[in-house]
Subunit: 502 residues, 2 copies
C-alpha cells in the first residue's frame, strides 16, 4: 500500500521545520540538519511485508537452516539512514535498528569512508589473534574509541566478539577476583591445578552469579543460566544452580504509585540480601550480580535509580562484584553512552559489559579485576579490530553531530507522543509508556493486540521490535530525529485506529 | 641478527626450483608459482623478538588491559604472504598463522579485492541481525562458501561469531534433539515452560555432553566444562558435572607399537561406554560427545581412524550425537577441508563445528538436528556476512591455486624434515613427530627445552606455536610452500644445535 499522501505531508512538514530550525541554538541544530543526505522522506510500502520476493528467499534459506525467525530479506545497498529497504522494494522506517545494534543507520557516509580507506582495509582482511599479536597502534585505537566514552572511573577494557562472550568473560573475571580474595595471597596448590582439569573442587569453584527474574544476558550456557526473560530461550537446556532475585515491577503512572513502588524496591532488594545469605551459607559463594539497567528483552522493565544505588551497596557489603550488562542499553540510545550514568551510583560499577551499538563486544572493569595471569580472559580473536575502527568513527560522528543531544530531543518527542496516544487509546495501550532517550517502550493491553499492532506497523512501513509478553520497544538509530518521531507516531495512531483484536 | 647469507642461499634455491618446476605436472604448479607476489625470500631479524618498540607498546597496552600474553606488536601493513613484520621491522616466517586462523597469509591480493569492491563494502558497514533481517542473496553466499566445502552428507549450516559460540550452540541443538526424542511427540507442558525460567526441572534438563581428557573446546563456561587441556584455562571457574573419558595416548613410532596402540584405543573406548552407562543410569543423560579430530591445544594428540569409527558406533548405540570440533583442524590445513574426512567414518558426523580459518564461526548439522522453533539457536548477529564474503573468495583461491594439493606436498616435506631432525637430535626432539598435511607437531624432550626452542625459533625469525606440555605445533598458511618448509627446517636445525637446556 502506497503512503503517498502521507509522504507529501511529511515533505511539507520537513520544509517548514527546516525554515524554523534556522532560529535554533547550535545545540539543537541536529534537529534540522540533514544527517544522512538522500534519506527517504517517509516510508513507502508496495507489497505486504514480507513480500513475495522475501517469502521466496525465506523458503530458499530454509533449505539450508531453520529460517522461522526471519522477518524479511533486506536490500542493504538501497537502505539509507533510518530507512531499510526490503527485497520487495518496500522502504521501511526502522526503529528496531537490527535489534538495537547498528548505531548510525544504513550506509552512513562516514562508515563508508572507514572501509574505503586503504589503511583501514588492512585491518578488515588481516584479523589478528589480538591477545598475542595486536597491531601497532592498537592501544591508541582503544583509547580513541572505547576508552574515550568509558563509564566514569573506568580505564580498563577488554574486547570480545559478541555480547554473550562479553558477559561470560566478565563472569570469569569476577570468579578469579573472588577466588584470589579467598586465597588471601596463598599460592595455587597442585591439587587446585589438577582437580580443575576434571571439573572438580578445589580447582573448579562452586561460585555463582546472581541474576534477576525477567533478565536477558545472552544464549551461551553460562549466560543462559542468568537469563530468565522467556522460556523459548531456555527450555531443554541444562542450567547451573545460581541465585535468582526479583526485579522491580512498578505500577504506572509512576507519580501516582510512589509508595507502592518504593515498597517494590524494598521487596526485591530484600530478596537479593536473602539470596546472598542462602547461597553464601551453602558455600555456593556469590561472586557477582549481573543486571541490566533496563530489562530489555524481558519487556523494557525499568527500575529506579534508588534501586540500583541500594543494590550496589548490598553487593559491596557481600563482597561481590556488580556486573552491569549494557549490551542493549549502552552506546547512546538513552542520551548518555551508558544508561547507568542516569542512576548516580555511589561508586563506579565493577564491570560494564557491551556489544551491539558499540560494534565490538567487550567489558570495562575496575583495575582490581585485572587477571593475574594470561590466557584466562582469552580466545583466538578477542574481538575484531575492524569493528573498533568503525566504532572510532561512530564516536567522532556522535560528538560532531551532537547525537546524544538529538537522542534526548527525539526521545522527548517520542515519549510525549506515546503518552498522548496511550491516553487517547486506553482500550489498546496500557498507561505504562516508559523510556530514557529514544530507548522507549509501550505495552498493548494483551499479547494478541501487541502482535497485531506489530504486524500492522510493519504493513504501514514501520519496523518496531516486540519484547516481553505484550510490549513494543523502540530502538531507533542515533540519527533518529524528531521528524522521524512524527512519522512513527502518525503511523502508530493509524494502527491503533485499525486494531481489530477485541 | 641478520640472516643475509641464509637469505641468499634461499634466493638461489628458489631460482633453481623455479627452473625445475617448469617440468612439473599441472597439479604441482603450486610448488613453483609465486602465490603471493612480492613476498620476502626469507626471514630477516634485526632486534631481539620482541624488540624495543614492541616492548614499549606492550607496556602501553598493559595500562589498558592485562597484556601478559602478547608476544609482539605487528605491522600488518608491511606483512605479506607467509611473513609477518613486527613493530621493530623484523620479518618473521609465520607458521602459527594467528593461532591457525588466517587462511591465505597476510595481505593476500584476492582478499584486498574483496574489501575494495564497493558492493562488498555494504556488508562491512551494515552488519545485520542475520536471524531476522538477512541480506538478499544470503542463501547463495552460504551455498558458494560454507556449503560448497561442507563435509560429506551435510546440507545444513548455521553461522556464529566465534568458535566458542559455535560449540555452545551445537551443544544446545543436541540437547533439543535429545529432549524431543524423549518427548516422543508429546507437546511441551506449562510446567516445562515455567520451571526452565528459574533453572529447574523439568524445563531445565539434566543433560550432559561427554568430552575427553586433554581436549580444548573454547573458554565460555559451557565449552570450558568440556575443555581439559591446561589448568590455566579452567582454574577458579565453576564447571558442570559432565562425563569425561580418556583420549588415546599412543606410543611412537606408531609402526613399532601397533598392538599397544590398539589396546589404548580399546581402553579409551571402554571408558566412553562406561561414562555413558554411569551418566545415563544417573539420569544425567549424555546428549552428545564432543571431540577434536586432533587434540590441538592439548599438544597435537592424534588418534586412529579406527578409534573415531568405533567412537561413532558407540555414540550412535547410546542415542547421542557426535559433535566433531573442527575449529582448529578444519579449513584445509590437513589437505582436506575437514580433518575427519581422513577417518572414513561409517556415517556423516552429526555436527561439525568450525571457526578460525573459515573466518566465520558456525556449525554444520544433519537435518534431524534442525530446531523446531525460532530464537533457540540465536543471538543478535549470528555471525557476520562480511566474513562469509571473505570466505567465499578463500574457497575460490584454494581451488584455483590448488592449495589443498600444496598442503599435502608441503606437509610431506615438513614431516620428512622433522623426522630426519628427530633422528639426528634425539637429545632434544622426541621421536613422536606427527601430522596430517601441514598440521604438524613435534615434542621436545622437556618443557624447558620446548620453551627454549620456541624462543630461539622466534629470535631466528620463525613464529611457531607452543601447545601441550612440551610440544611445538606448526599451523602454516595454506600458501605455505615447500620452499618455506626448507627455510623452517634449516632454522629449526640451527636452533637444535644451539639449545643449552640440559
Amino acid at each position: 500500500m502506497a503512503l503517498s499522501k502521507f509522504n507529501l505531508f511529511h515533505y511539507q512538514l520537513n520544509a517548514v521545520s527546516c525554515f524554523l530550525n534556522r532560529q535554533l541554538p547550535k545545540s539543537a541544530r541536529c534537529l534540522s540538519t540533514v544527517l544522512v543526505p538522500g534519506e527517504a522522506s517517509g516510508p513507502s510500502v508496495k507489497t505486504t511485508v514480507p513480500g513475495p520476493k522475501s517469502r521466496q528467499m525465506i523458503a530458499d534459506l530454509d533449505k539450508i537452516q531453520f529460517a522461522g525467525s526471519v522477518f524479511y530479506f533486506t536490500d542493504y545497498k538501497n537502505s539509507l539512514g533510518n530507512y531499510v529497504v526490503d527485497a520487495d522494494g518496500n522502504s521501511i522506517l526502522d526503529v528496531f535498528s537490527q535489534i538495537s545494534s547498528l548505531p548510525l543507520g544504513y550506509n552512513h557516509p562516514d562508515m563508508h569512508k572507514v572501509v574505503q580507506d586503504p589503511d583501514n582495509q588492512i585491518a578488515f582482511i588481516n584479523r589478528p589473534a589480538l591477545g598475542i599479536f595486536p597491531a601497532q597502534g592498537w592501544p591508541e585505537k582503544l583509547t580513541n574509541s572505547l576508552l574515550s566514552v568509558a563509564p566514569k572511573g573506568h580505564t580498563q577494557v577488554n574486547t570480545m566478539a559478541c555480547g554473550s562472550c562479553s558477559n561470560e568473560n566478565a563472569f570469569k573475571a569476577a570468579f578469579m577476583w573472588y577466588r584470589n580474595k579467598q586465597r588471601g595471597g596463598a599460592s595455587i596448590s597442585d591439587e587446585e591445578n589438577s582437580s580443575c582439569l576434571v571439573n572438580r573442587a578445589p580447582g573448579s569453584t562452586p561460585f555463582t552469579i546472581m541474576s534477576f527474574k525477567g533478565s536477558f544476558h545472552g544464549q551461551t550456557l553460562g549466560c543462559l543460566t542468568t537469563t530468565h526473560s522467556r522460556s523459548i530461550f531456555k527450555l531443554d537446556f541444562p542450567a547451573l544452580d545460581w541465585p535468582i532475585a526479583s526485579f522491580p515491577r512498578y505500577k504506572y503512572p509512576l507519580e501516582d504509585h510512589v509508595k507502592e513502588n518504593e515498597a517494590e524496591d524494598r521487596r526485591c532488594l530484600a530478596e537479593v540480601e536473602e539470596q546472598f545469605e542462602i547461597y553464601n551459607k551453602a558455600g555456593k559463594f556469590v561472586a557477582g550480580v549481573v543486571v541490566e539497567p533496563i530489562q530489555a528483552e524481558g519487556g523494557d522493565v525499568h527500575a529506579s535509580p534508588e534501586f540500583f544505588q541500594q543494590l550496589q551497596r548490598i553487593i559491596k557489603k557481600n563482597g561481590a562484584a556488580l556486573i552491569l550488562d549494557e549490551v542493549q542499553t549502552g552506546g547512546g540510545a538513552t542520551g548518555k553512552y551508558w544508561c547507568h550514568e542516569h542512576f548516580n551510583l555511589p561508586d563506579p560499577a565493577d564491570f560494564v559489559t557491551f556489544s551491539k551499538k558499540m560494534l565490538t563486544g567487550g567489558f570495562y572493569s575496575l583495575p582490581e579485576f585485572r587477571p593475574q595471569q594470561g590466557l584466562k580472559i582469552f580466545n583466538t580473536w578477542m574481538g575484531d579490530p575492524s569493528k573498533v575502527l568503525l566504532l572510532e568513527k561512530v564516536v567522532q560522528v556522535v560528538k560532531r553531530d551532537n547525537l546524544l543531544k538529538l537522542v534526548e530531543l527525539s526521545g522527548k518527542k517520542l515519549m510525549d507522543g506515546l503518552k498522548d496516544l496511550s491516553n487517547r487509546f486506553p482500550q489498546h495501550m496500557k498507561n505504562n509508556v516508559r523510556g530514557i532517550g529514544t530507548f522507549c517502550a509501550f505495552d498493548l493491553t494483551s499479547p494478541q493486540k501487541r502482535d497485531e499492532a506489530f504486524f500492522r506497523l510493519q504493513q504501514h512501513g514501520v519496523q518496531s521490535g516486540p519484547c516481553g509478553e505484550q510490549t513494543i520497544r523502540l530502538r531507533p538509530f542515533l540519527v533518529f530525529q524528531p521528524k522521524h518521531a512524527d512519522i512513527f507516531l502518525d503511523v502508530l495512531e493509524k494502527v491503533l485506529k485499525e486494531i481489530q483484536t477485541p
